[in-house]
């Protein structure tokens, strides 16, 4: 029988897919087994300094303290619940490092996210869905948000100048002092050698494989782009 604690909302009530307890335990063991875990969690005073420092806690029902506590209590039900939503509400700014005990709730979240991604959890797919363009950009160009992505329709809250800037984007970019920033489709100029090295890193570290579990379509596109480029360089994967 599952032990149910007062703070724990049953999956059927909270609205996420339930799995057997053994599976929750396995995911938790994977988190706890991470080499970084012992450096990220010592013990928690419940002083709340992390919550007060946390920008996300101001806007969401999110608490780095609850993340640290759930992990410290080895509460696999609650940790599984937090992997559905809470961990995706963190902006990974690491303001919570202010912890007097030296805990790193943001780091625990990093590990929890990686476990969610590596296990192809639905929450990871959902959380990353909005980021497919960003992931595509980073993995295919090595730069994150490119100037041409900042269109007024995508960012209506950025004010009236956004339209003007995007109309004459190339001109605005060429006004920047550094020549490597005279780009519109990438954040900055990336040379061919860097790009090839980057693709090799994605392949060899397994970073590309990780995408397969989260977004199959995106994975296929990236793989094709990279293989084609590497082939031109005469490199066989």
């Amino acid at each position: 029988m599952t032990e149910t604690l007062a703070h724990y909302k049953a999956p059927v009530v909270a609205g996420y897919p339930d799995v057997p307890l053994a599976e929750k335990q396995r995911l938790f063991d994977e988190i706890r087994g991470d080499i970084r875990f012992a450096d990220y969690l010592y013990g928690c005073y419940e002083c709340g300094i992390c919550v007060a420092a946390c920008p996300s806690a101001r806007f969401y029902d999110f608490s780095p303290r609850r993340i640290a506590q759930a992990a410290a209590r080895e509460d696999v039900e609650l940790v599984y619940q937090q992997m559905q939503e809470d961990i995706w509400e963190c902006s990974q700014c690491f303001s919570c490092l202010r912890c007097p005990r030296g805990n790193n709730p943001g780091g625990i979240i990093t590990i929890m996210r990686e476990v969610a991604v590596n296990n192809g959890m639905a929450s990871a797919r959902e959380a990353l869905a909005g980021y497919s363009r960003i992931i595509y950009k980073i993995m295919s160009t090595g730069t994150q948000v490119s100037p041409d992505m900042l269109q007024p329709d995508a960012f209506p809250d950025w004010g009236p100048e956004t339209g003007d800037v995007s109309t004459h984007l190339d001109l605005w970019r060429r006004a920047l002092p550094s020549e490597t920033l005279h780009t519109t489709s990438t954040g900055w100029a990336v040379d061919d050698k860097t790009l090839v090295e980057l693709y090799l890193i994605w392949f060899h570290t397994g970073a590309l494989d990780v995408i397969k579990d989260v977004d199959r379509g995106l994975h296929a596109i990236l793989q094709e782009v990279m293989e084609e480029r590497l082939e031109e360089e005469g490199i066989q994967i």
């Binding site: 419940e46 709340g48 303290r65």
Partner: protein, 354 residues
């Protein structure tokens, strides 16, 4: 020939108690105090009332000092520092320096009572603006005001309407390196909170804490009265930062028991600073060759059952030189060290004459 004197270093509460204890046994006592007055940190930092009951500090400490000065076998040296030390247990030689010059005295055993200093709240990761905002003060600053019976905002001289204490400043913090609890700050802050409420009945006083540690009788002597009679507001949740907001200060934290972030405007913010080894404790430990623990306090190698013994034979330590301690602990270990130092002297004298 073994010396017949005990050297006590430091004239604060524990040193005074140790010197008085040794002298009461009829043993020659040399009490060395760096400052020009006796009484230690409670006098130097203008403490108003003693925790827990709030008796005025100055007359109490003056009385302790008089008890020592009145003993015919006590030799009190003010404005004097130990600058060199050698010899063997039972026959130590200590060089004392004062305005009058240097003098070498013999002593059979030593009691180190060099105490603590308040944590400097401007250090390291603290983001409370102690040196930035005039209305952010520390426990001892408020003690000074309470001693004069006028609690005001340093920025404008007006009485504060909203006052808060932030606990564990410089204590229990892995980043700062002071992993220990300073023991007294919960009680001192609560005692000061009561005094502020008595002085300014219209004020609202908050204490933001991680754990309230008022063990033993301090529970009913301080904690309960603070809540029940003086309506001090205890909130479990530590403040992460203090920000200016108009002519007030905004404190940000989490009210952890309610599970929500909080932001409150304050007129006066009091930092409950913890204890660190004093410069005297650090310097004397090295000069005397006694081991220090990782925090710089003198290592109580016989703890817990023989807590005033140091790593060097014939040298004993007491009070806050051994680590955070309240007044009762300090004078108790002072008396303990006096007994150990006197007994050591007698043993050595017996051994030499036999």
């Amino acid at each position: 020939m073994a010396s017949d004197a005990v050297l006590v270093i430091g004239g604060g509460p524990s040193g005074l108690r140790a010197a008085h204890g040794v002298a009461q046994l009829g043993i020659r006592t040399i009490l060395v105090e760096k400052r020009e007055f006796l009484g230690g940190t409670p006098i130097a930092e203008n403490y108003a009332g003693l925790t827990p009951r709030g008796e005025p500090a100055e007359p109490q400490l003056r009385h302790m000092a008089e008890l020592v000065s009145q003993e015919p076998t006590a030799d009190v040296r003010l404005g004097t520092e130990l600058v060199a030390f050698d010899g063997e247990p039972g026959q130590f030689r200590a060089t004392l320096r004062s305005a009058a010059g240097e003098e070498t005295v013999e002593c059979g055993s030593v009691v180190v009572a060099t105490g603590f200093q308040h944590f400097d709240p401007g250090r390291e990761t603290q983001m409370y603006g102690y040196y930035e905002f005039p209305d952010v003060i520390a426990l001892q600053d408020l003690e000074s005001m309470l001693k004069d019976h006028t609690v005001v905002r340093p920025s404008n001289g007006q009485p504060p309407e909203r006052v808060c204490f932030i606990q564990c400043v410089g204590s229990r913090d892995r980043h700062i390196g002071n992993e220990y609890c300073s023991k007294v700050c919960c009680g001192v802050a609560s005692k000061e909170a009561i005094e502020v409420r008595q002085l300014l009945p219209n004020s609202k006083v908050y204490i933001f804490y991680i754990d309230m540690r008022m063990y033993g009788y301090w529970e009913s002597q301080i904690y309960w009265p603070a809540q029940e009679q003086h309506h001090v507001q205890y909130v479990k949740g530590i403040i992460t930062e203090v920000l200016p907001r108009g002519d007030r200060l905004l404190v940000r934290g989490e009210d952890t028991t309610m599970g929500r972030p909080m932001e409150l405007a304050m007129d006066l913010v009091v930092l409950s600073v913890g204890m660190e080894p004093s410069m005297g404790t650090r310097t004397m430990a090295k000069l005397l060759g006694v081991a220090q623990n990782k925090y710089g306090f003198i290592d109580a190698v016989g703890s817990p059952l023989d807590p005033v013994v140091t790593s060097r034979e014939g040298i004993f330590a007491c009070g806050a030189a051994l680590g955070p301690a309240d007044l009762e602990d300090s004078v108790s270990s002072g008396a303990n060290a006096a007994m150990k130092a006197a007994a050591f002297l007698r043993t050595r004298a017996g051994a030499v004459s036999a």
